[in-house]
Amino acid sequence: MPDGIALNTLNLKGPIAAEVFGGGISNAMTGLSQMVGRDIKITQLSFKRVMVKDIPNLFGGPENLIIGVYLSITGYANGHMVVIYDPQTAFDLIDLLLSQPQGTTRELSDMEQSVLGEVGNIMGSFFLNHIANTTGLSFQPSPPAVMMDMAGAILDSALGSVLEIDDYTYIVETTFGSPDRQVTGAFLIVPAPEMEFV
């Protein structure tokens, strides 16, 4: 555990928070890589403070059709975790995981939701395990919810609970991909706004 972490006062120094979250996300990529049998890397990672209402703009605008896998985080601190895919990319990922020819999956029914939910589970657990190991605190993910809809609609109920406390929030925004670009997506972490990063 690095010196200087003071999560017990819900107070993480900015650079340390970035390091802890970054490590968690790397670990989530390890989990995803193992699951899909491809080397998946972080292509971009940023830890920043944004206006809550602007968050859907990070994913192509509030009306953009996406597939979102949502998990809520509870435990020592609360938060939200969303894995976001372009629908076609998610369909290709499902084909990859079910060893089907590319192009087989064309919609999101129970089976497909379950596959993407499992990917979300793995990423969420790997992410939280790293955070727990680094900080010594415990966090649990909720069961995943898989939705295909407008980005704004998928995010607004989760963001509502953030907006209740503050119009601004910290987010960890990550994009990831395999070298062959077959698996790509974005990973959004929104810590509960009562956490402070100075």
Binding site: V52, K53, D54, P56, G61, P62, E63, N64, L65, Y70, L71, S72, S142, P143, P144, A145, M147, M148, D149, M150, A151, G152, A153, I154, L155, D156, S157, A158, L159, G160, S161, L163, E164, D167
Partner: protein, 168 residues
């Protein structure tokens, strides 16, 4: 029909927790991609003043000086006030509601996400308190919506993914 009008219309986007009023000729107030949020659309057909609030949360107890528009119970009186400033009359307001979907989320977090229903209930109660009838609604379900209020006509157009646009 809507697309051909697009070149002559001016879209005024009402973001999460925002409230906007306008009487721009050819203008369109729009809430883009709402799930559990509510778009309160109000229109004065005589002066063609339109207003839209993008409510995110059901109610605020006490005062939130920072942004009252995000709460159902506070957005309604604020919307009326802003519309009167622009030449609207409370007695003429035609109010339509859209949104309040129950997004399919994880079973373990259901409680938190009953917001759609709670948002709607608070907005309806606040309108009732003001004595303003609700003319039309397009609410509930589990699909996201984009809601447009056309300032020239007062028409409200609701679009969802994979469905025909619906006028209310």
């Amino acid at each position: 029909m809507v697309t051909t009008m697009a070149s002559t219309t001016e879209s005024i986007v009402v973001g999460m927790g925002e409230l906007k009023v306008s009487r721009v000729s050819g203008g369109v107030l729009v809430c883009v991609g709402i799930g559990s949020c509510i778009a309160i659309c109000a229109y004065d057909p005589l002066t063609r003043v339109g207003g839209m609030a993008h409510v995110v949360l059901p109610r605020c107890e006490g005062k939130d000086g920072k942004n009252p528009a995000k709460y159902g119970n506070l957005a309604v009186p604020l919307l009326i006030e802003e519309m009167i400033k622009l030449g609207g009359a409370k007695s003429r307001l035609v109010v339509k509601l859209a949104g309040g979907a129950q997004m399919t989320l994880a079973s373990g977090v259901k409680n938190v996400f009953n917001t759609g229903e709670r948002n709607l209930a608070e907005v309806i109660a606040a309108l009732d308190k003001e004595g303003i009838p609700i003319t039309a609604t397009e609410t509930g379900g589990n699909k996201g919506r984009t809601v447009r209020l056309f300032l020239d006509t007062g028409k409200v157009l609701v679009t969802s993914v994979g469905q025909e646009p619906k006028e209310i």
